[in-house]
Symmetry: C2
Subunit: 210 residues, 2 copies
């Protein structure tokens, strides 16, 4: 599917066909494609909890304004942004450094420089940590939605949920923020898809401040 | 260009051909495509400052670790996330509500409900405001990078800059966070493109917490 079609046909669908499952192989392909998204210093501070069990989806639905799509979609991702994935000793921070050394982008002596740069840019204060986690998880989630559409899947990104409630119910550690839930499945062809919503024009997006 | 090619061929290129400009029409097309990205309640809390003037790019480069790509790329976007774009009275919040009424998704009586929901989810505290701005700007920026690639453009997302310095130099109001700078142009074919960096596998991304 060409990119313009993917962008135009990706819609936040409200109704999923509960009878149409999604094989794990397709979910894996969707995640693998999206994992090619760029990230700050390639730190990839994103994780997913995959919710498929009907009882777990019901628990999640109760914490998400009782929206039917949470239980009707065959798969719901709890998307996570890791606010600590810039710290010395973090598994993926150290792995990332080793991979950069292996590929010749950095050398062993730059370990301190690398960790200090990460700490300054991403860990300087709570505002920066939150921005780091959410911006990068935003890249990944957008890539997931496009990847899904390109593979014939429909998605719906959701903000309407009790953040602390989901954290507690699904045992999510404090270092993670939950930027969104993402329902994944197939649009219920019995329903009517709403026309696309309005979008800002280029002139509304581009601002002149200086 | 099909989506798998776009995802695989989008690379954060370090070297731009300073002799190869990008016409405004192509920049506009890139922004229009990316503007189809979804957002929280369709609030689209993103803006762009487009930096093209050589002196302005030099000013920005000095604030961005003196990275040559800032001045070599013909166009650099200062990407903004609006931490206030959920508030009553905000131009685009009110426009969004009117558009929803016009299209029949909401009715006039739901104005208070809509504003309260936005305030609760996005404006409840500083952590939520920052997440709202950065997550959505992340969606938009990811879509910009893919849209650019699909139109034959190369990009480079950058975090290495003095956030307050850029805010001051480019007169950016406090309601905006600057999640990234995005250099846009054409890869310099005289240079060697590094091989793609490592990525987390599906098993590294998916976590089990319960």
């Amino acid at each position: 599917m060409n990119f313009k079609e993917v962008v135009s046909q990706r819609r936040a669908v409200n109704f999923f066909d509960p009878g149409k499952g999604v094989p794990d192989s397709l979910i894996n392909e969707m995640i693998e494609l999206a994992a090619k998204a760029p990230s700050s210093f390639n730190l990839q501070p994103w994780s997913l909890i995959i919710v498929k069990d009907p009882e777990d989806k019901q628990r999640l639905r109760k914490l998400a304004w009782d929206q039917p799509k949470v239980s009707e979609a065959p798969v719901v991702f709890i998307v996570l942004g890791d606010r600590d994935a810039w710290k010395q000793g973090h598994f993926f921070v150290e792995k990332n450094f080793k991979e950069m050394v292996n590929s010749g982008i950095m050398n062993e002596n730059q370990h301190d420089w690398f960790l200090n740069a990460c700490k300054t840019i991403y860990g300087g204060n709570d505002e920066k940590k939150q921005a780091f986690a959410c911006k990068n998880a935003g890249f990944f989630a957008m890539a997931l939605m496009f990847a899904g559409k390109s593979l014939g899947l429909d998605t719906h990104p959701m903000d309407g949920f009790d953040h602390d409630g989901v954290r507690n119910a699904f045992n999510i550690a404090d270092n993670f923020w939950i930027p969104l839930l993402l329902a994944v499945g197939h649009f219920d062809a019995q329903k009517t898809l709403q026309p696309p919503k309005w979008r800002k024009t280029v002139d509304e997006i581009v601002i002149r401040t200086y």
